[in-house]
């Protein structure tokens, strides 16, 4: 279409989504940043505006203050929340990869006629409510829940397990809800591997395990990479899972932000928390975008 469409007409198509995203996605970040530099006030909305069109640029600069940021960096509670979010997200990403890889591998090696059905079965839970799937785990993990009851009945344990309201429950929750995001890119890259490569390796006397490490794993790395980013980035800022499964012991930044906003009603401070979270995530997000663009270019 591009060859025939004049450049002015092209902009009719581009303008609507472009303007929408500028107004509702990009500009909001600047407002968050601006608000993070203002002070809390008991008003509606509860902050003192830093910049209005009537004040000049010089006044604007003189009013800026980094109070909220120095508060966050001065309080170990916030700093720990960032580090613990990164740690929990990293560990859960690795666990998700370990669960997803054998599944994606098995799917890619399954009979061709089965593959669309298996794919459908992976996608289906992703379409059912996130909140409901987390809720389902409460009934399983709580001390008088299904898991403890089942293991007691089997005689494996005598006391109920204490998993609910621990970090372990958060790991289980993240692995469970993000599993499809890991399986799909893994499957996509595993499915593309030409089986004759493995046959050739076998014919040349390579052990299956060695062939797996030297051929399958390297060729699946783009899928591993995409899957890990798709799990890791949103997991760092996750709110629902640590809130419902992690209890008060689990420190995660998404929960901190939520509490600052909804319980303490401190909009400027929660904005500052959001800005720092965004700065922490900006590098993985840019890598993710680059990678998606590359996939798109390769798909042509």
């Amino acid at each position: 279409m591009s060859t025939k469409t004049s450049s002015l007409k092209r902009w009719y198509v581009i303008a609507a989504p472009y303007l929408w995203l500028l107004v509702f996605f990009l500009i909001p970040f600047f407002i968050v940043f601006k608000l993070s530099l203002s002070d809390l006030a008991t008003a509606i909305p509860p902050y003192v505006p830093v910049f209005s069109w009537s004040t000049g640029i010089r006044e604007f600069i003189s009013q800026l203050d980094f109070e909220n940021y120095s508060f966050i960096f001065g309080d170990p509670l916030y700093v720990n929340a960032y580090f613990s979010s990164l740690k929990i997200a990293a560990i859960s990403t690795v666990l998700t990869l370990l669960v997803a890889y054998p599944m994606a591998y098995g799917m890619a090696r399954a009979p061709k006629s089965w593959q669309p059905t298996l794919l459908m079965l992976v996608i289906l839970p992703f379409w059912t409510s996130f909140l409901i799937r987390i809720y389902a785990w409460i009934a399983i993990l709580k001390p008088e829940g299904f898991l403890s009851m089942f293991l007691i009945k089997l005689g494996i344990i005598s006391e109920p397990l204490q998993i609910m309201n621990t970090t372990t429950a958060v790991y289980i929750g993240i692995v469970y809800s993000y599993l499809p995001f890991m399986i799909l890119p893994l499957y996509a890259s595993l499915e593309k591997i030409n089986p004759s490569l493995l046959e050739a390796a076998q014919d040349l006397g390579s052990q299956p395990w060695r062939a797996f490490w030297q051929i399958t794993v390297p060729l699946s790395l783009p899928g591993v990479f995409a899957g890990c980013l798709l799990v890791f980035i949103p997991a760092v800022g996750e709110f629902v899972i640590p809130d419902l499964l992690g209890g008060s012991d689990t420190l995660m930044i998404g929960k901190t932000l939520w509490n600052e906003f909804f319980n303490n009603r401190d909009w400027p401070l929660s904005s500052a928390v959001a800005v720092i979270l965004l700065l922490v995530l900006i590098i993985p997000i840019v890598i993710f975008q680059r990678q998606q663009e590359k996939v798109r270019e390769a798909g042509r």
Binding site: P125, G237, W258
Partner: protein, 274 residues
């Protein structure tokens, strides 16, 4: 390479699917539990479903959620399709990298950041918070998912069909409605369904952007879950799971049929022109 299940592959698939589906199955089964204790079986009963029907605030929340989902999915699909055309067919234009960044970043952006920033923009613009601000917020994040779904299909199909139509004198707009849209229609429908379910599902962004009077179903469920597990939540969850499963399966069957037909027609078109 043999194409039957090997022992190892079969085990890993079975265990994986057990992990994915057992929690959902338990939830559905125990929604039919007579006992008020969620984890103790007391016999079959549908009483929790009838008590749902009497819960007016839950029904109101469901109605708000459906309307938000319907409006936002429709607008998001239109914007997302335009965005997909921009990404795949427009080549280079000033600000292209920024544009693709704004399409891909929301896919992984933590909900708490999206929710907070959208709320602040609504306050800055002086919008009354409530039904419409939730809808605008949902359009914004679901249009990016819609764009990715449509983009995948646009990439697959041969651009020369569009060029052929234009060589034969069709206008770009005519080409889009008579050639491109029929071919990408299945992906546009999946994009709508995905946007709709994402909107039905969202708790965090809706909580930030709502105002007095507009409570969505996830917000309602969340406030009840915080008080503890109840068979009523199991019942409402089962209804939602049932609706979504039926919708997704129907869409999958429809899409597969459409795709087979579209591929056949595409081949036929090539046979006729070449």
């Amino acid at each position: 390479m043999n194409r039957r299940f090997s022992w190892f592959n079969l085990t890993s698939i079975t265990l994986g699917f057990a992990f994915l589906y057992i929690p959902i199955l338990l939830l559905v089964i125990y929604s039919f539990n007579e006992s008020k204790l969620v984890t103790v079986w007391g016999g079959w009963s549908t009483k929790w479903y009838s008590s749902l029907l009497e819960n007016q605030s839950l029904k109101d929340a469901a109605w708000v959620t459906l309307r938000v989902g319907f409006i936002s999915a429709t607008v998001a699909t239109v914007l997302g399709t335009l965005a997909a055309i921009t990404l795949v067919r427009m080549g280079r234009f000033p600000g292209r990298t920024l544009f693709s960044g704004m399409i891909f970043a929301p896919l992984v952006m933590p909900d708490v950041i999206t929710g907070l920033s959208l709320l602040l923009v609504f306050v800055a613009l002086g919008f009354d918070r409530g039904f419409w601000t939730i809808t605008l917020a949902h359009i914004t994040f679901t249009m990016c998912f819609a764009a990715v779904v449509v983009q995948a299909r646009l990439q697959d199909f041969d651009k020369s069909i569009e060029e052929a139509a234009m060589d034969l004198g069709a206008t770009p707009l005519g080409t889009f409605f008579q050639v491109t849209l029929p071919i990408i229609a299945p992906s546009v429908i999946s994009a709508w369904l995905l946007s709709f379910t994402l909107s039905l599902d969202d708790l965090v962004i809706a909580s930030f952007t709502t105002g007095p009077g507009a409570t969505t179903l996830p917000m309602k469920i969340y406030s009840q879950v915080r008080l503890g597990v109840t068979p009523e939540i199991n019942a409402i969850s089962t209804i939602l799971i049932g609706i979504v499963t039926t919708g997704v399966l129907a869409a999958a069957i429809f899409t597969r049929r459409q795709r087979v037909r579209a591929e056949r027609e595409e081949r036929w078109a090539f046979g006729a022109t070449g």
